[in-house]
Symmetry: C2
Subunit: 105 residues, 2 copies
DNA sequence: TTAATAACTTAAATAATTTAAGTGTGATAA
DNA sequence: TTATCACACTTAAATTATTTAAGTTATTAA
């Protein structure tokens, strides 16, 4: 009856910032905290928490290091993460198709 | 730099249940509370609140009536609501296209 | 040698969502 | 006939999520 399982939507990738992080990491490869912060136009605390959540559910991994005597954490999307993102976007695709096909009737 | 403005995503339609309500009303026209509840497989309180939020931002309207001596509230998507939904889906479309075109490289 | 900035982390406040309880009316059963 | 149950919501409480603000450690500039 419904085109997709709305209740089953993956809320881990659903949130705007989360979706932004996943997209950036998927397309532009590993990125560090500062780059993500600028790209997503967000603030430290919020970004940190979202990254933490994504890491918790193993959609991304992080590696801390010191570069030029400054800390630098680099984030990378995992294969699980790629699958989750693809899966989420597939739902959106189905939804779009459903709404567009309904329009024609 | 980003394919879409993640921060600008319309959070009013974004949530899973909200998206479900909007989709149902868009495709199957006016629906009553009970029908929506069944279709979205949700509980009274939650549905009621989400409907309230959508009404607050004028994406839907409601009309209360008594049918067979029982209360019956019917919800209908507004033209503002249709635009908001279309707009939201357009963002998702852009995002999908961006990710797919990046994959080819 | 204070500031000021960078790169986070942690905690507090706010907002969103879900779960649970409450209301009024009609129908059903004892 | 009166107690119980179901329907269609509403309201309030509890939980979870998100954002805003403050704190930490180190490092460079004034």
């Amino acid at each position: 009856m419904n085109p997709i399982d709305f209740n089953g939507l993956d809320t881990a990738v659903h949130g705007p910032i989360r979706l932004g992080i996943m997209t950036a990491l998927q397309v532009d490869g590993p990125l560090d905290f500062t780059t993500l912060k600028k790209r997503l136009d967000t603030v430290d605390g919020s970004l940190n928490l979202h990254l933490g959540k994504l890491e918790e559910c193993t959609y991304i991994t992080s590696k801390k290091a010191f570069v030029d005597l400054r800390p630098k954490t680099t984030y990378r999307i995992t294969s699980t993460g790629r699958k989750a993102l693809a899966n989420y976007l597939q739902s959106m695709k189905s939804l779009i198709e459903y709404l567009e096909s309904a329009k024609e009737k």
